[in-house]
């Protein structure tokens, strides 16, 4: 290929530390789709936990270095709707006191994509070959759905996989109860919200509960494993990459 | 004690501190609501059958019962029948000056006890008599100034001869209306209200009520129950000759 699409991974702290296999799946998947992938190694976290808890000066410091780190990236791909939302929707505001940096943040925002959106909107929804098989259901993570207005791209990708049957999750658009520090501050409320989500997921008869956000994944897989459910929570990248993701 | 000037001063002071606000407008009001209301009325003189059909659908959806009759005589017979079916005896009505002179005698002829509102300036005794009659009545008979097709609402403007209690206190409310009352939408109601308020002479009462079906509540375990405070049944009689 003459001019491959180039993408930098903003892998997010949760994927880096807890779900590296999601990052690996994303790399293998994107490479298979002809994307040239790089990983700016000094990245840490997008700062969303700080921002959401009200620590805005601190979040701005994180944003500042992230903007600089990805200053020359052609595209930035993020395996989490919430982190993509943070970069796209909140960085410009956080950095607006420094007009030059604010403008850079705007630029970064426009080049940043959540994974499913990147595949559909930038790569043009190519056919994806995966050996993943089974019945899946999809959970809309709140920031991807309401923050970025995206509900179709992930479903479109899943629906087109030959060995995958997508069944709709009742209440798919309702929160799983994660909410970052919310799940630590009010753990029992968070768990009560999760309970409904998991009951709905199990009722679909799906083998896998797919999400596009490592936060939701952490919450939902934690609940599923605790209750010994046969349903597994997986990231969209893992479905699309199949056994490549090990 | 806070005075108006102090209150407004404080509001103004805070308003002055607001940083860049987005451009916002309130709703576009009709320039000449009177003329526009007239246009709506003219159009409805043609379109009223469709409006009545929609009204009927919506009114019944909210639990109302609609009758279509030729004239006041038939309307009175309908009221008498409604009363008979419910073993109702006592009727309170708006004034004959509003509902027409034939109503009261016809209802009486049908065997009902009728307490009609009298026109003119009611004194304390008259008020108290009417209030008592309304509280005791089984059926309240009123007109309707507007019938809104979009929502199935009856709109009543209070005024001399148009007591509020008649549509409120008795367990059964019967409203009589003609095609001139029909409007299609709340938006049109807005135009008509703008026109009414523009011309202070047109509104002789202090209250306007939208009545959309019977009084209802679902405050105990979400169980829908009718007639909690207002009427438990609302009947509307469309009179072709009106």
């Amino acid at each position: 290929m003459a001019n491959p699409v180039r993408a930098s991974l903003l892998v997010t702290c949760l994927v880096d530390l807890f779900y590296p296999e999601v990052g690996v799946a994303m790399v293998r998947l994107l490479r298979r789709l002809g994307v040239s992938v790089d990983f700016p190694s000094n990245q840490t976290c997008c700062g969303l936990p700080l921002f959401n808890s009200g620590y805005h000066q601190e979040a701005a410091r994180v944003a500042r270095r992230t903007v600089r780190l990805f200053a020359h990236s052609e595209h930035v791909v993020v395996p989490s709707g919430s982190c993509a939302w943070m970069v796209k929707k909140e960085y410009p505001g956080l950095l607006k006191d420094d007009p030059a940096l604010g403008a850079q943040a705007e630029g970064l925002g426009s080049r940043t994509y959540e994974l499913s959106q990147f595949i559909v909107k930038v790569l043009g929804a190519p056919d994806i070959a995966t050996d993943f098989r089974g019945r899946v259901t999809y959970h809309d993570s709140c920031h991807l759905l309401r923050g970025l207005g995206e509900s179709q791209s992930p479903r479109q990708l899943l629906r087109r996989l030959p060995g995958v049957e997508l069944v709709e999750l009742p209440g798919a658009d309702q929160c799983c109860g994660f909410g970052g520090s919310f799940s630590v501050r009010l753990p029992d409320v968070s768990a009560a919200i999760l309970k409904k989500k998991l009951e709905n997921a199990e009722a679909t008869g799906a083998d896998c509960l797919v999400a596009c956000d490592a936060g939701c994944l952490m919450q939902m897989s934690g609940g599923l494993s605790r209750k010994g459910s046969r349903v597994r929570a997986v990231h969209l990248a893992q479905v699309l990459a199949g056994s490549d993701s090990r | 004690m806070t005075t108006r000037a102090q209150f407004i001063q404080r509001v103004r002071g805070e308003m002055a501190k607001t940083p860049g606000l987005f451009a916002a407008r309130s709703a576009d009001r009709p320039q000449e609501p009177g003329a526009l209301a007239e246009t709506i009325r003219r159009q409805l003189a043609e379109r009223w059958p469709a409006a009545l059909a929609r009204f009927s659908e919506e009114f019944e959806r909210v639990g109302g019962v609609l009758y279509r009759v030729a004239d006041m005589e038939e309307a009175c017979a309908t009221i008498s029948r409604i009363a008979r079916e419910r073993s109702a005896q006592r009727v309170v009505t708006w004034a004959t000056s509003v509902l027409g002179a034939e109503l009261e005698p016809r209802l009486r002829a049908g065997g009902l006890e009728v307490a009609g509102e009298t026109a003119g300036l009611p004194g304390e005794a008259e008020r108290s008599r009417f209030r008592h009659a309304s509280a005791q009545a089984d059926i309240g008979v009123t007109g309707a100034d507007l019938a809104v097709a979009e929502t199935g609402s009856l709109v009543v403007l209070s005024g001399p001869g148009k007591a509020r209690s008649a549509s409120l206190l008795p367990p059964y409310h019967v409203a009589v209306f003609g095609k001139g009352a029909l409007v299609e939408s709340l938006e049109q109601v807005g135009v008509i209200f703008e026109a009414l308020h523009r011309d202070p002479g047109t509104m002789s009462g202090a209250s306007i009520s939208f009545i959309t079906g019977p009084s209802r509540t679902a405050d105990i375990e979400l169980t829908l129950t009718r007639g909690v405070h207002g009427p438990r049944e609302v009947h509307a009689i469309f009179v072709e000759s009106l």
Binding site: P187, D188, I193 | Q6, F7, G159, F210
Partner: protein
Amino acid sequence: MSVGELKVPFVERAHRALNDRFLQEALNTATTRFMTLRHEAFQAFPQGEALRERAREIKEATLQKLDFYLEQLADNVERLGGHVHWAATGDEARGIILRLAQERGVKLVVKSKSMATEEIELNEALEHAGITPVETDLGEYIIQLAREKPSHIIAPAIHKTKGQVAELFSRELKRPLAADPEVLTKVARGELREKFLQADMGITGANFAVADTGTVVLITNEGNGRLVTTLPRIHVALMGMEKVIPSMTDLMVFLSILPRSATGQKISSYVTLVRGPRRPGEMDGPEEFHLIVMDNGRSSQLAGTLREALYCLRCGACLNVCPVYRQIGGHAYGYTYSGPIGILLTAMLHGNHAVRDLAHASSLCGACQEACPVKIDIPRMLIELREHLDRERIAPLAERLIFKSFARVLTTPALYRVLGRLGRLLQRPFVKDGRLGALPVFLRGWTDHRDLPPVAERSFRERWRELER
């Protein structure tokens, strides 16, 4: 819930609600029902979306000329023969109502549902002065008898079973009553009808107040709003100053979206427009009309973080869709206004200290904003409120230190990497079957209910070296 219970921390109140099985069932049924009704109503109303935008803009436009509209409203109410009073605080509003009642020898007051009067705890004040207030909205009547606060803006007694209501009514009326909503409603009708006819004063709130006609608008399903404004000889309406709207044309926009958002109805059973006291020649209606315009903390947000909360129509849609409200119900919040918008209004009325914990009672999922008829950006304001808690040092010191150190870690990659490795080391005693099932200290709450994945043996950045090839 009495105010004294605020001494119980929010976390504990929420915990109690979660363990109340009836409450859980009632909340789930009610909020799901309201949510579905709202959803269906807007699906069948394609112009709804545009009207919501319109409504939002009207609210903003009104706030931008609030001084003008308030004066116009006052002029018109007075022109119609009403009296206008100005209350800078809740205290002052209570004082005005008490004075009006006492000067006129009022003994019995009937009220239609009003969050504004709840906000100033008017009933307690009236009782204290020897005046009997009777709530006439069935739900409000129930909670008044039970001496509780509303648990939902539009369905104040959803937390009560019919059995509890029957018990309450039986005790109050000293005769045994069946636990049948139909029967209980009929009994309430009889009781309250007497009160309506005897009362000297009717007190209402105002869903809207139309500036250029001087009209106070009341929306009810039961019809009590009409009775309260028809039978007693004095009508007093208490309105939050943000309830003013410019014109009748604007009103029609709100009439289309408020009932749909609240109960899924195209319009509520009764919409009552009050234009001052009764006119000469009218058979009924009050002799006197008083409008009290109340500030009580609202003006301080005109230029503040919570400005948009002043758009609120009190429809309750955000409560019904809020995953937190759906679990804990209204009482756990501890203040008059509950749910996501309630947190903002509580901050507005009681200051930021009051929401130290409440500000975090949201997963920021955004469902509230999506459901709001005027699209109030509640999540954003919650985040900004949290920012104030840090800036004003209201947030606990330990929390602030943790987040500030966390920021240090995130801006120092070497430190971030070291901590990742440290976590891997420290978690060893706790990893079982590849997951963390029971962690100590602040993560205990999490692992009490669900597992946590362990920090991976090799982080993504460590694996990247081989992926890079």
